[in-house]
Amino acid sequence: MKEIVIDPITRLEGHGKIHLFVKDDGNLANAYFQVPELRGFERFCVGRPVEEMCRITTRICGVCPDAHHMAAAKAADAVYGVTIPSAARKLRELMYNGFYAGDHTTHFYALGGPDFVCGPDAPKAERNILGVIAKVGLDAGKAVIAQRARGQRIIEIIGGKKVHPVTSLPGGLSKRVTKEEQQEVIEIGRQMVEFGKFTIKVLNDIVLANKAYVDLILSDMFTHKTYNMGLVDANNKVTFYDGMVRVTGPDGKERHKYEPRDYLQYVAEHVEPYSYLKYPYLKQVGWKGMVDGIESGVYKASPLSRLNVSDGMATPLAQAEYERFYETLTGDRSGRTPVHSTLATHWARVVELVFACEAVLQQAQDDEITSDKVLNPPTGIVGEGVGIVEAPRGTLTHHYKTDGNGIITEANLIVGTTNNNAAISMSIKKAAEGLIRAGQPITDGVLNRIEMAFRAYDPCFGCATHSLPGEMPLELIIHEAESGEVIQTVRRF
């Protein structure tokens, strides 16, 4: 057996690898995806006050600091056993939707979009945000930048800083929002909704109008029938900030629905001997390896998963897009028939983007957000708390145990990307099958199609490595399994 390693050499050299194991007959035996993980998180947390975590954990991940801020804040609320005021809850949710509206914009236009807007076989020099702008126009570029700025302005108003919010405390928020700021957020919300409509048009005109792309989305190469996980609100609609965790099977039927604090009854982590990575799976189904199907505990947690576990979207335009999504891909607009095509995640992200924009406008118009009462100071302590939010790239869990003074004694995190470790490896294997053969030339297009398989998950590399289309420096090495001799090396950097 031969081993092929695709190794992104990054600012943090030597992290993030794709291992491909090729049998002597040239067929692929297995594939594993390794992302870098920050070391020493638990040691770093232990001994610190739990209320610090919502500010410190924003540094864990430069990609979704707001998600860590929210999960840590909710866990700290739980540690102190405090229910936050209604206004604070609404403000946190509004800020989080503002963050989503910016983050999903980045992914669609700058990361995932180039594969579809420019095409997977476009030269890598064009397969980036500049290529997208060249195709959809300069005004689109300006609109993307403006949309990101809107999201950041909402975070600044509610979270105190543009990128890394700092205002959540156990019991609520450290600052309120004025009526003038409310008016500004309402106007931002209106502009965001218009941007959402614009993005639907871009999706329609450039992606869905191209049959080749739709065929690619639906191709078997990018399909896995796994379980799905995501938060849902009281009506089983998609929600990002708070709700119950719902898990549905490959058949679309509800398998679990639980409170975040009970997550350990439902999720366990498998460790492969070759890797430091953990592979979360559904405990009550069991680990059967990196395979899909109803007997395998592998699940996905992604924008597509959130749509699959929900009964719809809570806002009108997003609901219409949800129905069109399922009608197009399954023929059943109710959403009861799940979509298993990984590449449909990009489209699901657009549905969520529209929802986030509408939710911002809706929630900004609630006058309660200007209430003075945004903090319920804790009066006691429970000593343990779990906070779960939906990070853009999957269900994010923060779990802290503390002593009687709120000093952390134990911490556990399951981050968005980690949920998808097994599914990402499965996607890479499927994509690589038929594309990688020992002795055959490995083109940039082949590497990009393999990258596309994991880019759909928007994987989050802990140490600021990257997954930029056309940019990811790759090294692919084919070894003779027995001797270890390098028989082929392909570099893209």
């Binding site: 600012r11 050299e13 040691r43 430069g62 990609v63 980045t106 700058a110 990128v163 930029l468 950097f493």
Partner: protein
């Protein structure tokens, strides 16, 4: 706003990646640099850097780097041109710095004409810690001198837009 910006990147709780954070603090304490250059620490990358880059003519990026070809603490100093490997300054889910600059220019934003990079070879950028490793900590003093020299040169009439590539 000064026309010269020293932009220190990194992560203040990620071992050697905190180099930019500490250097920015030290620079901000130096009264003799006041008014000569803006100094900013930003735990950001790509898109998020765009607003910071605007309206400055000359830019020095300070960051950590792992080339594997130099000892930890080594100071790399080079002008950023089209040939500069973008991987050194790219973060996940974002766009690389060269792409951010190209995007800014394409959108009509005033981007710096001249960009230099001071990058310190790091030993550990994966362990969550507020402590840097000793060789990187020791690079702070010489790096401070290099930055002060860069600011002085960038303000002089002889400035031609960058240092020659060199490695200490």
């Amino acid at each position: 706003m000064s026309s010269t910006l020293v932009l220190c990147l990194g992560n203040d709780v990620l071992s050697d990646d905190a180099f930019g954070f500490h250097l920015a603090r030290r620079l901000q304490e130096q009264e003799e640099l006041e008014g000569k250059a803006d100094v900013q620490f930003a735990p950001l990358a790509g898109f998020n850097l765009l607003p910071l880059l605007q309206n400055h003519e000359r830019l020095l990026i300070v960051d950590t780097i792992v080339t594997g070809r130099a000892l930890p603490g080594t100071i790399h100093f080079f002008p950023m041109g089209e040939e500069t490997p973008s991987r050194l300054l790219t973060s996940s889910h974002q766009i690389s710095l060269p792409h951010a600059l190209a995007l800014g220019r394409a959108l009509g934003m005033a981007m710096p004409e001249s960009i230099d990079v001071l990058a310190v070879e790091a030993q550990d950028v994966c362990t969550l810690s507020e402590e840097m490793t000793p060789p990187v900590e020791e690079a702070l003093e010489p790096a401070l001198s290099r930055v002060a020299e860069w600011i002085a040169t960038s303000l002089s009439e002889e400035y031609h837009g960058g240092f020659e590539p060199q490695v200490n």
